[in-house]
């Protein structure tokens, strides 16, 4: 039974269960699926590509796309036309069906992740009680698609890229998931809508020492999860051509490209929704929802403001992702794996416990106020700082004692025979 038959069976089963859906639910879903997922999200992503090209150009003292339309604004449309009219090459030795399925699987994963993001009050595609677990499950489909792409191409570079990609994605999935546990703990729910509601009452979750550490870990691990620089080892063009999508051309390559940007957008939305307070403009001030009276019209205006703030925050995170790409060089593969397992995972584990301490100190006693917040910060802040310092110190000491090789020091001094003058180098 293939995927389509499975989906059709699920649909028929749902019909046979006779779930009552009223007209408004159906209309809302149709709007989300046809306008949101088929129109707005791909549009946003297309213009993220334009933004990245413009921003990267400015960082490199260039102008960027400026020929197609004003400020190059029609560039994404020109790119799409070009991709569709390119010849669709499949290498002779490739596994045809899997080669076709891989990009579809990757883009499906990126779409499914978007289903639970709460953009504003009442503006989430669907409010699943287990939203965060669903989101993690959906996002872990993409390593599968990436591996299928690399394997089915029957190209050695693709295969190496795919193996690296899977090793990297599973390694960074652990800290990414662990970093979300404080949020679940404080909100007492997996539903992203409840997590947002909780932040309306208690301020942004990032505004606490364990929340800040969790946000940083989530941000770093998310960049690695979407294969962006400096963690773009799977598609390192200087060594692997294009990694797992070397043998992809035309629209199939375009789907990988689109999925990458859609994933960047999705993880930015996730970080905004669970750590940065969603659409709330000020960290500790509850948004005055009844600002303009009780009418439906004021509700629309308030929701529009929340949505605008949400999108501004997402845009800021996307910009930081582009900034990081323009600034940092690609990591070395052993350091990449080390950074996940020896830095982020221990820190995330400690952070879970610190988050529980924060809950006991600040959230459980009841009403949230400044005194409690400062008391909690005074207790948990030093623990978080000590944990960070400790992890880095242990890694320095360990790396200096057992370097990977003489030519390949992970930290500390390079011996006189290697580096020339015994240059002291500090690194990860």
């Amino acid at each position: 039974m293939n995927v389509f038959e499975g989906a059709a069976c699920a649909f028929l089963w749902a019909q046979s269960q006779a779930v009552e859906l009223d007209f408004w639910t159906k209309a809302r879903w149709a709007l989300w699926l046809l306008v949101g997922f088929f129109g707005i999200f791909p549009g946003i992503v297309a213009y993220m590509v334009w933004l990245e090209r413009k921003v990267a150009a400015r960082f490199q003292d260039r102008i960027g796309p400026n020929r197609v339309g004003p400020f190059g604004l029609l560039q994404p449309i020109a790119d799409a036309i070009k991709l569709i009219t390119k010849e669709d090459l499949v290498p002779g030795g490739a596994d045809g069906a899997v080669h076709l399925a891989a990009p579809v699987l990757v883009i499906t994963s990126a779409f499914l992740v978007m289903a639970v993001i709460p953009f504003a009050v009442g503006l989430a595609p669907v409010n699943l009680p287990s939203g965060l677990v669903y989101l993690i499950a959906a996002s872990s489909l993409s390593p599968l698609g990436i591996f299928l792409a690399g394997w089915s191409s029957r190209n050695k570079y693709s295969l190496i890229g795919a193996m690296r990609a899977v090793a990297q994605l599973v390694s960074y999935e652990v800290p990414q998931v662990l970093a979300t546990i404080p949020v679940v703990l404080w909100a007492g729910s997996f539903s992203l809508v409840s997590i947002f509601d909780r932040q309306v009452n208690q301020g942004w979750f990032v505004a606490s020492p364990p929340g800040l550490l969790g946000f940083v870990i989530l941000f770093i691990a998310s960049i690695a999860e979407v294969n962006r620089a400096p963690f773009d080892l799977p598609e390192a063009e200087s060594e692997l051509i294009a990694g797992y999508h070397t043998e992809y051309s035309g629209m199939r390559f375009g789907l990988f490209f689109l999925a990458e940007y859609l994933s960047v957008f999705a993880v930015s939305c996730l970080a905004t929704a669970i750590f940065l307070g969603g659409g709330m403009p000020i960290p500790f001030l509850a948004f005055p929802v009844n600002l303009l009276g009780e009418s439906a019209w004021s509700y629309v205006i308030v929701d529009a403001m929340l949505l605008a703030v949400f999108l501004v925050k997402v845009l800021a995170i996307v910009f930081v992702v582009l900034w990081v790409r323009a600034t940092l060089p690609r990591m070395r593969v052993d350091r990449l794996m080390n950074f996940s397992w020896k830095y982020l995972v221990p820190l995330a584990l400690v952070n879970v416990l610190v988050a529980a301490v924060w809950y006991e100190l600040v959230i459980r006693p009841g009403a949230f106020d400044a005194g409690r917040w400062m008391m909690g910060t005074a207790v948990t802040g030093p623990i978080v700082a000590a944990a960070c310092w400790g992890v880095f110190a242990i890694n320095r000491a360990h790396g200096a004692r057992a370097p990977v090789s003489e030519q390949w020091p992970s930290v500390g001094r390079i011996g006189p025979g290697v580096g020339g003058r015994g240059v002291s180098r500090r690194g990860l």
Partner: protein
């Protein structure tokens, strides 16, 4: 209500696959097709591919996969604990500290054994 949410997910799955397959189908109609043997050769920097491509992996990758399974299952235990922490209280925190300490010892053991070293 909960079932109907998952119907939306199912519909979204269909929409997402359509979104993936439709441009490929369109490209199939629009794009030129001039097949030749040279074009179908795998692109390995202009050199003909040598030897078998679909080979076994290095053991390194399996070890990371094993570690991943261990820690992912740990997350499966941590998530319900976190979601119901409000009702559990201090005792659950102590228990989870012990649980995490055991796991951390496992990570340190793997580290000391050189499993986490990429060679």
């Amino acid at each position: 209500m909960i079932i109907s949410n998952y119907i939306f997910i199912g519909l979204l799955l269909l929409v997402a696959m359509t979104f993936g397959l439709a441009p490929i189908a369109l490209a199939h109609v629009v794009a030129p097709r001039k097949r030749s043997r040279v074009k179908e050769v795998a692109y390995e920097c202009g050199v003909l591919t040598h030897g078998e491509t679909w080979v076994r992996f290095r053991i390194q990758y399996y070890i990371y996969a094993l570690l991943f399974v261990v820690f992912d299952i740990e997350v499966v235990f941590l998530f319900p604990w976190a979601a119901s922490y409000a009702d559990l209280g201090i005792f659950a925190l102590v228990e989870m500290t012990i649980f995490l300490a055991i796991l951390l010892v496992g990570l340190i053991y793997a580290w000391a054994k050189g499993v986490l070293r990429w060679v």
